[in-house]
């Protein structure tokens, strides 16, 4: 019973946080562009509108199951990320998982959805998937290297153990291992599908993207999982670098400040092409990561 309630609470919390954060992001970017922008609930309305569409086109069973796989992947990811530390609540199944598993779970869903995109038979969709996989190839290397620096620092892959090791603000990995944070920051933004690395989805203006054939309720499912996944990733970084949180309010505050940072970076830069993205990730964050490895692993004084 506890497990089920806990799981439902995590799913609900990540969804609510998801649309509020996205609503805030749209409001924030509107203000940056000197507009009024939509209300903070706008993403909720959009999502509900799609979930309540009366017609949904399907291109066959695989096309239908793709969004289901991606949603199941998002829920699984949410349930394997511990939301709070030193608490019985909002833990999900995180004790049965670890950091590497979570990093891989983040891509299970998108790959499942890629099958659906392929089975729709629309070449534009497949182009989008290829772009996505290419970007993934670019971002995953520095992202994982940054996380590996943290795993090496604490000699564990357990998110719980890493969280527990950061007692006070001085022990936050953000401060004890700043290089790792700098290495993962930009790939993290890319993994959130945010500007300037958002050419894959390009929500409004590019015809060719993974979602080209999705409409109606299936698109609603895709939006829902996207919001939940965003929160799962934010909470993961909060757990790893900002010492986790002991209650929901601290969690929201920390996640929000991180979100603010990434949103500010996102809004300041124009979009990169896919190959520019990959090249950038392999040069700048990865280069920084290599320097970090040399400084903290190869030379004993850094450790």
């Amino acid at each position: 019973m506890h497990v089920i309630l806990d799981a439902l609470a995590m799913i609900g919390l990540s969804y609510v946080m998801g649309f509020l954060f996205y609503g805030f992001y749209r409001q924030f970017s509107a203000r940056v562009q000197r507009r009024w922008g939509p209300s903070i609930w706008q993403n909720f309305f959009d999502n509900m509108k799609f979930l309540l569409k009366s017609e949904t086109l399907s291109h066959g069973p695989m096309f239908f199951f793709g969004p289901m796989i991606i949603a199941a992947g998002a829920i699984t990811t949410v349930l394997f990320v511990p939301f709070l530390k030193d608490s019985d609540w909002l833990q999900g199944f995180s004790h049965s998982g670890n950091l590497i598993l979570i990093v891989y779970l983040l891509v299970v869903g998108p790959l499942g959805n890629a099958l659906a995109v392929g089975s729709s038979g629309n070449p534009f969709g497949v182009m989008g998937v290829t772009r996505g996989l290419t970007r993934l190839m670019g971002l995953e290397v520095p992202f994982f290297l940054g996380l590996a620096l943290v795993m090496l620092q604490h000699e564990t892959t357990s998110v719980h153990a890493i969280m527990a090791a950061q007692d006070g603000i001085a022990q936050w990995n953000l401060f004890t291992n700043p290089i790792a944070f700098m290495v993962i920051l930009l790939p993290f933004i890319a993994s959130q599908n945010a500007s300037p690395f958002d050419v894959v989805g390009a929500p409004v203006e590019v015809y060719a993207g993974p979602r080209v054939e999705f409409g109606g309720r299936l698109l609603g499912v895709l939006m829902t999982q996207n919001m939940m996944m965003t929160i799962a990733k934010l909470v993961l970084v909060v757990d790893l670098f900002m010492g986790g949180a002991t209650n929901i309010f601290i969690l929201i505050a920390k996640a929000f400040s991180l979100f603010l940072l990434t949103a500010a970076i996102s809004l300041a830069f124009p979009r990169l092409k896919t190959e520019q993205t990959v090249d950038f990730f392999w040069k700048v964050p990865l280069g920084l990561g290599v320097l970090g490895v040399v400084a903290t692993v190869w030379f004993p004084w850094g450790a």
Partner: protein, 210 residues
């Protein structure tokens, strides 16, 4: 109608249109009203930029008029869109694409016809290859008159459409579904052999539930 002092020009026309829309919202249940409210609050627009009206869509979406504050935002593909904006005149050639795009949208879906050309041919009233009345080929939910209407007028049109959706009135898509033979007959008259393949509308004939 045109001789009152609390409105002028297109505003009056808009009022007239809105006034004739009927007051049927009261019959809706709580759930339906909620659904209708959600729907009107979020409209994804497929801007079909064929005519000169397309130029009015850019200021509408960008910082000055900022349609996003009403939940109106562009959509990349017809599958994701709720509203098709026909911006200006339609040639026979573009009519085919408009029909195709409209049929690919997922219900509930709405059409806004922008400018006089889309209503009655406007200045192209005697042109040999311009569609005079778009309403004969796809169902139009809201007209915005003018040549060209300014973005404010367009916003008025969207607001009126939102009102209409909120009241839960039957949208044009229902008219299209019920009178599919009439619409297809009209389309066939202009397009002739150039009609889109049967599979694009067959399901309408099968009661729309195929």
């Amino acid at each position: 109608m045109y001789h009152n002092n609390h409105c002028e020009g297109f505003q009056c026309e808009q009022r007239m249109l809105e006034a004739s829309l009927g007051e049927e919202g009261g019959e809706l249940g709580v759930l339906d009203r909620l659904v209708a409210w959600m729907r009107q609050r979020s409209l994804f627009v497929l801007a079909y930029g064929t005519g000169c009206g397309a130029i009015e869509m850019r200021p509408l979406m960008t910082s000055r008029f900022d349609a996003e504050r009403f939940g109106i935002i562009g959509a990349a593909t017809p599958r994701q869109a709720d509203v098709l904006v026909i911006s200006g005149y339609l040639a026979v050639k573009t009519l085919k694409r408009v029909i195709r795009s409209y049929e690919q949208m997922q219900e509930p879906k709405y059409v806004i016809a922008l400018g006089s050309c889309a209503i009655n041919g406007g200045m192209y009233w005697d042109s040999y290859n311009t569609i005079k009345q778009v309403d004969h080929y796809i169902p139009v939910d809201m007209y915005v008159t003018g040549c060209m209407p300014r973005p404010e007028a367009l916003i008025e049109g969207f607001a009126a459409l939102q009102e209409k959706i909120k009241r839960g009135e039957p949208g044009g898509f229902q008219r299209y579904r019920e009178n599919i033979d009439w619409y297809k007959g009209n389309q066939r008259r202009v397009l002739g052999d150039n009609m889109p393949p049967d599979y694009t509308y067959d399901w309408y004939h099968a009661g729309g539930t195929a």
